[in-house]
């Protein structure tokens, strides 16, 4: 064996080694730098030239090895080796270049193991008269400046070989290993502490992840799988970038970075973004001529808050970059350990995006199919590229990111005084889609009142059954007549347009008659839920200021005196024909309110939403068209104070169907066979058995819906249409809906809410009220025919939520729903929860729906919920489940499916999910998890040999006295470097191929032990019986 010397690895080598360990089979760190020898250099000379360069630079004779748990670089004495050759002259000239590229691509894509010298691959290829060199080298010993040096030395030695002159290469006063030793000495103790103090201060409070619009949720463990989009910048753009830089005391790189930061902020909605940049790491002249790995990543934190102009942002980027570069020698992994020790293997620490400006070096034509970052731009003077992580993004999304960057940068450079929010993000085509084609909902609906519609139906089908309650049917004629009589009585008691009549009535025929009667009188009805506490009823009646309260003998006591109490006789003496405007106190028009429904805000008093007739009839026209089941029987089970019931009640009564009034769990709900139409909340789904399930339309509204929640029901009823209907009361019942036709499958994950209803437009806007592009999260604004008038007697609140609409006819308003959504590529909307509920745990945005869907994916979980609780001060994620599933198996399932930040810290088993009277999940009633889960600090002694081994290694490496089976490596103070030593120790104790990433995905003693056992079992499975017997015998002997 040749002579070798060991030195400590440099920090950069250690970082590359660590990262490489996460997937040692990936060529992600291969650097490919081909070169063409001048004519006259033959194969032997070429081989000798390469050998001379290798002889000069120890880095090219270095490999890495773990010695006693520490990473060392091993330098070998130079032994010249002839390079293999390939002669392509037998091919037609036109095919030679392609063949050369094939050789090159093959070498570039073949991983180079770090522990086996040399860390490069070379081949001489004869293309014609001259020879070309294919050279691929591992990033652990090579960086981009090394490539420049390497080519220069090849040229110098080639020239020398041909002329016999001395090669024109600089002296090398030191070698790379000298630098590593010096660096280890420099960056230690107080100096390192000082530098780290800068970085922990600089990055304090920075978001741990930029919330990029991903096509897929983060996998539990990131890999290096990547792809790239190549593109050219528009002609002259880099020149204009340069001119702007020159005028702003900045560099072109800073302008490119400012554009990138602006883009990231706009597509993520974050105003604090961290981008990766690199320092060359060659601060002293001795290092300039050395081949080796010196580059150090640096985090650039960009403050995009306060809607700065692009010029102002450029200034911030310039200052930030200068600051960061001044501290650019701090080893990046030390910063990671100081800032983000509890790393989440689904997220790259500190930054996930990068931008490199390499004006002079072209791109490597070989695409490795790998990436280190989620998104990384390489900008050159020629061809540029965006490298992206294929686990997170589709190619089409990456292409769109490129388009947006180029468009935004072009506009920013043309007019740098524009604010970041005003820079264009959408292409014209996208703008046309989100404002036009996807909102093309215009439909002729003649203006009408609800009264017109009900009377039209009563005249058309007088003898059809309109209503069934407690087994008693009422025909359309009977309902209309009864309502006419009561309406006249109401008018005589003061009811009329622009007044309100409160209905303190239980679910009954009388309630429906009274609702229709109030509408006929011209007044708006206000349902009063008689089950509510007296205080709430009193508040509601006080706020409503009704002209009249209607009650029954049973409920009269709940309301103030003077109420109209319905008994059998009342109104019997009134004429029974339809009312005309002459019978009313003033004419009824479609612009008058039809009802006032009270909704609870998350804060403050309940507020009455005033909905006009024209908005209700606009919705009903769409609903009758969309739900053929409304012409059949509709089960009405929810309280009428909940606007979800408008569909089943007024929709049915204007379509000729039969309203069946019954509680969902009462026998009456099942009398008369399956309903044709049923509207429920997702929480009701588990209650829907064969008899309750509708035959035509199941409409789900009120809450977010996932495919998992629907899966069981859908499997049993594939022949029914399912519609996911979204709509705040302020936009009348349902304003966006997605229909799944009979037979159409419902994939797992969130069910889209679909497209806007007739004459309604859905706008997704950012904080500056600019439309967001498809795929980007925005706040949902609704505009059009279904908007409510506002909040009863709340002008300020109305003005706050109903805003001028910049994208509609003059004077139009748009309602700010406070909900987040995004456009899918097919023009349907995904609902992403309340903006106020945007919950973050440890700075990471949490999608509760994702957690709930993963819980429901467990076969033994029937219902699930997730919530972020702050019982103990710090926000923690809690999972709730109903069903026999064992907690450990649920946890294991979640760990496989979800990134660590989405795994609940506690699981709580419930008999049933708590529901509000409206059938929605009652989040406030979810119990707190049992205080201080015992596993948190209780010591559990290792239970198996593998656990004992892992615990012992942790204790030794981390200098901890006692390590239990449930202790976490990183919680105990572990970091990646110590992790590397721990894994080396474990591998030395048990002869099993355990990858470094096992520690990141399973840092708990018991979990890592289980992985070890699994791998041993798998290896044993691969052995024959006799091999196992031999192994056991060997074991016997050695012990």
């Amino acid at each position: 064996m040749s002579q070798e010397w060991t030195f400590p690895a440099s920090f950069a080598q250690e970082r590359v080694w660590m990262a490489n360990q996460l997937d040692a089979g990936s060529p992600v760190f291969n650097v490919s730098i081909p070169w063409r020898f001048p004519a006259g250099v033959d194969a032997d000379m070429a081989s000798d030239v390469v050998n001379r360069v290798v002889a000069r630079h120890e880095a090219l004779r270095t490999h890495l090895r773990v010695d006693d748990g520490a990473l060392v670089q091993v330098v070998r004495a130079h032994e010249p080796v002839p390079l293999p050759t390939t002669d392509l002259r037998h091919l037609p000239e036109s095919e030679r270049l392609a063949a050369f590229e094939a050789v090159r691509a093959e070498l570039a894509r073949t991983p180079i193991p770090l522990d086996t010298p040399p860390l490069w691959r070379a081949r001489l290829v004869r293309l014609g008269d001259a020879w070309a060199l294919v050279f691929v080298v591992h990033h652990a010993v090579f960086d981009s400046h090394s490539a420049v040096l390497f080519h220069a030395e090849l040229a110098a030695f080639s020239a020398a070989a041909r002329t016999g002159a001395e090669p024109a290469v600089p002296e090398l006063p030191i070698q790379y290993a000298d630098f590593a030793v010096w660096q280890r000495d420099q960056l230690a103790g107080a100096e390192l502490d000082r530098q780290l103090a800068f970085w922990t201060g600089h990055l304090a409070g920075a978001p741990p992840v930029t919330n990029l619009p991903l096509d897929r949720p983060r996998p539990a463990q990131l890999g290096f799988a990547g792809d790239e989009v190549r593109f050219d910048l528009p002609d002259g753009l880099l020149d204009r970038v340069g001119r702007l830089a020159a005028g702003a005391a900045a560099t072109p790189y800073m302008v490119l970075l400012a554009g990138f930061a602006a883009l990231l902020s706009r597509i993520s909605g974050d105003t604090d973004v961290v981008v990766g940049v690199s320092t060359a790491g060659r601060d002293t002249p001795e290092l300039a001529p050395l081949i080796g790995m010196f580059v150090n990543p640096v985090a650039l934190r960009c403050d995009v808050s306060g809607d700065p102009s692009f010029t102002a942002l450029l200034g911030r980027v310039r200052d930030g970059l200068v600051d960061a570069m001044e501290h650019g020698q701090t080893p990046f992994q030390k910063i990671v350990e100081a800032v983000d020790p509890q790393r989440d293997p689904s997220v790259q620490p500190i930054f996930q995006t990068a931008l490199n400006y390499i004006p002079d070096s072209g791109l490597d034509p070989v695409e490795l199919g790998t990436t280190k970052d989620d998104l990384a731009f390489d900008i050159t003077a020629g061809e540029c590229r965006l490298v992206y992580r294929t686990e997170l993004f589709d190619r089409s999304t990456a292409e769109t990111v490129v388009q947006r960057y180029v468009a935004l940068l072009t506009a920013a450079v043309a007019d740098p005084e524009r604010t970041v929010a005003a820079l264009p993000l959408l292409t014209d085509a996208e703008r046309d889609l989100v404002l036009g084609a996807w909102n093309d909902t215009a439909r002729e609906v003649p203006p009408a009142t609800v009264v017109d519609e009900v009377q039209r139906q009563a005249a058309a089908t007088p003898d059809a059954t309109a209503l069934v309650c407690d087994g008693v049917p009422l025909t359309y004629a009977e309902l209309n007549t009864a309502a006419n009589r009561l309406a006249r009585l109401l008018v005589s008691r003061g009811a009329g347009p622009e007044t309100r009549v409160a209905l303190a009535l239980p679910r009954s025929c009388e309630l429906v008659v009274a609702m229709v009667a109030v509408l006929k009188s011209g007044a708006a009805y206000v349902p009063v839920d008689t089950g509510y506490p007296a205080g709430r009823i009193a508040y509601l009646l006080e706020d409503t200021a009704p002209a009249l309260v209607v009650a029954t003998p049973d409920t009269a006591a709940l309301v103030p005196g003077g109420a109209l109490v319905l008994d059998g006789e009342i109104g019997a003496d009134q004429p029974d024909g339809d009312l005309t405007d002459a019978d009313r106190r003033s004419p009824l028009r479609p612009e008058h309110p039809a009802y006032v429904l009270y909704t609870s805000g998350s804060t403050g008093r309940p507020k009455g939403v005033v909905v006009e007739h024209r908005a209700v009839t606009a919705y009903l026209a769409w609903a009758r068209h969309t739900y053929p089941g409304l012409a059949g029987a509709a089960l009405l089970h929810s309280p009428v104070s909940f606007d979800l019931t408008v569909t089943g009640l007024l929709g049915t009564l204007t379509a000729g169907g039969t309203v069946r009034l019954a509680a969902i769990d009462s026998p009456a709900a099942r009398a008369g066979g399956r309903p044709a139409f049923l509207k429920v909340t997702p929480s009701h789904l588990p209650l829907l058995d064969g008899e309750l399930s509708p035959t035509a339309d199941l409409v789900i509204g009120g809450e977010a819906l996932t495919g998992e929640q629907l899966a069981g029901w859908r499997a049993a009823h594939p022949d029914v249409a399912v519609v996911n209907e979204y709509g705040p009361t302020e936009a009348t019942v349902g304003c966006v809906a997605a229909r799944t036709a009979p037979g159409e499958p419902v994939p797992p994950g969130p069910v889209p809410i679909g497209t806007p209803t007739w004459n309604t437009r859905a706008l997704l806007l950012d904080a500056a009220l600019q439309p967001v592009p498809p795929g980007v999260v925005g706040e949902l604004y609704v505009t059009g025919a279904q908007l409510a008038r506002g909040y009863h007697r709340r002008p300020g609140l109305t003005a706050e939520r109903f805003l001028p609409c910049p994208y509609g006819p003059p004077g139009a308003r748009m309602y700010a729903t406070g909900d987040l959504a995004r456009w899918r590529p097919d023009g349907t909307l995904d609902y992403l929860g309340r903006r106020d509920d945007q919950v973050k745990v440890r700075g990471m945005r949490i999608e509760l729906g994702e957690v709930e869907a993963a819980l429901l994916a467990h076969p033994d979980v029937r219902a699930a919920a997730a919530a972020v609780r702050t019982d103990g001060g710090e926000p923690t994620l809690v999972g709730y489940l109903v069903g026999p599933a064992h907690e450990d198996s649920v946890r294991a399932e979640l760990a496989r499916e979800l990134p660590a930040h989405l795994a609940p810290a506690a699981l709580v088993r419930l008999d049933a999910l708590p529901l509000t009277p409206n059938g929605k999940l009652d989040r406030a009633a979810l119990p707190a998890p049992a205080a201080a889960a015992p596993a948190e600090d209780a010591y559990v002694a290792p239970r198996t040999e593998a656990e004992a081994l892992v615990a012992e290694v942790y204790a030794e490496i981390l200098q901890v006295e006692k390590v239990g089976a449930l202790d976490d490596f990183f919680t105990l103070g572990g970091n990646s470097l110590r992790g590397m030593r721990a894994m080396a120790r474990i591998r030395a104790e048990v002869d099993v191929d355990l990858p470094m990433r096992a520690l990141f995905s399973s840092p708990v003693v018991a979990d890592l032990a289980a992985q070890i056992e699994q791998r041993i079992a798998a290896e044993l499975d691969g052995l024959s019986d006799s091999e196992v017997a031999a192994l056991l015998a060997a074991e016997e002997e050695s012990s």
């Binding site: 008058h592 009220l769 506002g790 001028p804």
Partner: protein, 62 residues
């Protein structure tokens, strides 16, 4: 940093709303002349928007 400024604005139906002072006002909306913080504007609207019926409804009614 200074709190963002808003305007109290009104459309032809005499419905009130608020609008960021440094953004272009959409067509069909008019500046009422009152400007202030978001809270000040909303409080102002609470005092001046006393009849919340759209103007067309109010005029037909009377």
């Amino acid at each position: 940093m200074a709190e963002p400024r808003f305007l109290v604005v009104r459309n032809d139906e005499e419905q009130y709303s608020i609008w960021s002072a440094d953004r272009d006002l959409p067509a069909g909306w008019h500046d009422t002349g009152f400007a202030g913080t978001r809270e000040e504007c909303l409080a102002h609207i609470d005092t001046v928007w006393t009849d919340m019926r759209p103007r067309s409804v109010r005029e037909a009614h009377s």
